[in-house]
């Protein structure tokens, strides 16, 4: 069964090609069937492959299939090969499973769009890229998936290219990602330089044999560079700015980006390279700290946002911070587990918000909603489940995974991580229920124009919601403390040793925390309930209170509302100061060039380009002068620079 693995990739690719080439001439239904069918088949094959994996004894659960030798040059080899092991096994299930639901949902959501076939073509390609990233058996192939995911996200975020904000967001996403990718590719090159190979098996084997000492400079550098890639793709500080803007794309795309694909790539990569990371404690500290800070930072921004999708976007960043925190303290299983449950409830929440927006005729501002509970009951119920799940109320999925991270952050990390995790979980519960209360409870604040059109979404949209709601409620039991299926299943990937320390670490941690894991559970549940209670108090009982609070703590409110002014800060840091000088120098230099550049850095480089292009005077004699100048320079360099 494992030999079928290539099919997982093949089906979405076929779907892409058919819809890309012939989609224009096909009927909408056909396009939808092809796209969903492709992912559906891919999902079925994934299940088969997964079962095949389960049939093997735990320690032999690693299957590699070389498709063809891709790049060969001297000692450098990279095959186009696929690899299935418990980690990628789980990932393909998540990607194809959640991906399939999003595809189905999209057939309803995008039904009126004239770029229907284009949309599904991109969507299939996106899934394909993510699967390539997950299944590749070497760093370079992973990088290809990595880049392709970036490219597809660019296409999809900018899907409604007519919207200026959409195409800007697309460019921003692509370029911010490229900045991270730059670190990633350098990391790969360094891996090749250090290990003489870029094959996962060979590199990890060499690393586990102790080729490099713990904390050696090479490994630290490699892991830091790889992590730089992860911060771009998984939207961590400082490269997170693209993700909130990425909601400019169609809502199912946001769901796909935020839940199943793209942003999880960074977490997956770090989990995949766990051996390398375990050997470089410094990087681990960085990963954990950035994860923790991002979690808190994004959650605090989420507290005051008014756009329904923006709240969810910041919550994604915050949850990803959790996952990095888990990875950073060495609890990779917990990270992957949270990745999975998060995929369920975040997909659910995004699709649910899509359903709300659909019902509200495109309105995204929560202040203009309210009281939707009665009008769209299915959406409400499923959304409620998702909200409870993310807030971390037992026995829903989010509780177990988040609790494990909170636990591990104390057991393996320190009190600082733990307190951040706890505060973040308070924030999370608060802003998610704030969202829920403002949107679904209270009185309606929409105009009747919208109210008249208010309707529950079609079956194609509610069905995925219900499935995801089911998964969000029950998915957590895979990792229930005591009988942790996840951690046993993933043990071969995270190493016998890692598994061992995990268990002993857990025990040690348990001891550390006064010998009672249940106490910790109770604390975190209590915190979550506290968050909910505050939200309830502020937004249901006394709806006028938030305004007063906002007035009283005006400064903090503004700060949060404007996302700590990070975008503006980048602007001032990179653009304004240089612009002033440039404007003085080249006052008559136009504004038309600025329009082409994308963000601060691009503008800065563009400015240099502006200055440099004036060397190109058009006078032949100037050009000859440059040649002579260069000539003297070169001769002097040769003659004197011994």
């Amino acid at each position: 069964m494992l030999n079928l693995v290539a099919l997982i990739l093949l089906f979405p690719l076929i779907g892409t090609v058919i819809n890309g080439l012939a989609g224009k001439r096909l009927k909408k239904e056909t396009v939808g069937y092809i796209a969903c069918g492709a992912i559906g088949l891919s999902f079925l094959v994934s299940i088969l492959v997964f079962c095949g994996l389960l049939l093997l004894p735990p320690q032999e659960r690693l299957f590699e299939k070389e498709l063809f030798s891709w790049i060969e040059s001297g000692s450098f080899k990279a095959a186009a090969g696929l690899q299935v092991d418990p980690l990628s096994g789980i990932m393909i299930l998540i990607v194809t499973g959640v991906g399939l639901l999003i595809h189905i949902y999209s057939t309803g959501y995008m039904h009126e769009d004239k770029g229907y076939h284009r949309y599904f073509c991109y969507l299939n390609l996106f899934t394909f890229s993510m699967l390539l990233l997950v299944l590749g058996n070497n760093f370079l192939l992973m990088f290809i998936g990595w880049e392709a995911v970036g490219l597809c996200s660019y296409l999809l975020i900018g899907f409604w290219y007519n919207k200026k904000s959409a195409s800007n967001a697309a460019k921003k996403a692509f370029i911010v990602n490229r900045v991270g990718d730059f670190g990633f590719i350098l990391g790969i090159m360094l891996i090749f330089l250090s290990f003489r190979s870029i094959d996962f098996t060979e590199v990890f084997h060499a690393a586990s044999q102790g080729t490099f000492a713990v904390g050696s400079f090479a490994l630290t550098l490699i892991t830091l560079l790889l992590f730089m890639g992860a911060t771009g793709k998984s939207a961590q500080i400082p490269l997170y700015t693209w993700l909130p803007d990425a909601m400019e794309g169609p809502t199912p795309v946001s769901a796909l980006i935020h839940a199943a694909t793209m942003v999880t790539a960074g977490v997956y990569m770090i989990a995949r390279c766990n051996i390398l990371y375990m050997l470089s404690p410094f990087t681990m500290t960085i990963v954990a700290s950035i994860g923790a800070v991002t979690a808190l930072f994004a959650a605090s921004i989420g507290l005051v946002q008014n756009d329904i999708k923006r709240v969810l976007a910041y919550s994604t960043i915050s949850q990803l911070g959790y996952m990095f925190l888990a990875c950073g303290v060495g609890a990779f299983t917990a990270g992957i587990f949270h990745l999975m449950t998060h995929a369920f409830f975040k997909a659910l929440l995004f699709l649910g918000s899509g359903s709300v927006i659909h019902a509200m005729s495109g309105e995204q501002d929560m202040r203009k909603m309210g009281g939707l509970r009665r009008h769209i009951p299915i959406t409400y119920k499923t959304f409620l489940i998702g909200t409870i799940a993310i807030a971390g109320i037992p026995p829903f999925a989010g509780f177990f995974s988040k609790d494990e991270i909170v636990l591990e952050s104390l057991a393996r990390g320190n009190f600082f991580y733990w307190s951040i995790a706890i505060v973040t979980s308070l924030f999370t519960a608060f802003y998610m229920f704030r969202l829920l209360f403002i949107t679904f409870h209270g009185k309606s604040r929409a105009d009747h124009h919208v109210m008249e059109h208010l309707h529950e979404s079609p079956k194609s949209m509610t069905f995925p919601l219900m499935v995801l709601a089911g998964l969000s409620s029950l998915g957590g039991f895979l990792g229930i403390p005591g009988a942790n299926i996840m951690s046993h299943f993933l043990a071969p990937v995270f190493g016998e040793q890692g598994h061992h320390t995990e268990i002993s670490g857990r025990e040690a941690g348990v001891h550390h925390s006064e010998g009672h894991p249940y106490l910790m559970m109770i604390i975190s549940t209590a915190i979550a309930i506290l968050g909910i209670f505050i939200a309830y108090h502020l937004y249901v009982k006394k709806p006028e209170l938030p305004k007063i609070l906002a007035e009283r703590f005006r400064f903090i409110y503004k700060l949060l509302l404007n996302k700590y002014y990070v975008d503006e800060m980048y602007d001032i840091l990179f653009v304004k100061s240089l612009k002033k000088i440039s404007v003085m120098l080249w006052k008559h230099v136009d504004t038309q060039i600025i329009d082409g550049s994308v963000n601060g850095v691009a503008r800065l480089i563009g400015r240099f380009g502006d200055i440099l292009r004036f060397l190109q005077t058009g006078y032949v004699r100037n050009y000859a002068f440059y040649i002579v100048l260069g000539c003297i320079f070169v001769i002097v360099l040769t003659a004197l620079g011994k």
């Binding site: 292009r613 004036f614 190109q616 005077t617 058009g618 006078y619 032949v620 004699r621 000859a624 002068f625 002579v628």
Partner: protein, 100 residues
Amino acid sequence: MITLTHYLVLSAILFTLGVIGVLIRRNAIIIFMCIELMLNAVNISFVACAHYLNSMQGQLFVFFTMTVAAAEAAVGLAIIVAVFRNKETVNIDDINIMKW
């Protein structure tokens, strides 16, 4: 006694003069003549080297350089004539519609 260095220095002087001419003159034809001067400077160095090395290759090279110079002259002057047809000038400072 005249040594190779003498010839090489003469060659360097003429080459440099040619370079300066290219940099400061505006008439395309004169610039082209300065380039010819540079080529001749190189030829001196070739022939001198050949002489002092008891080798023939330098002279052969000069033979080819001259042929190339002839071909370049034909093409170069034709280009200048073509420019003159359209623009009525050979002042290269005026010939800069393309820049930046």
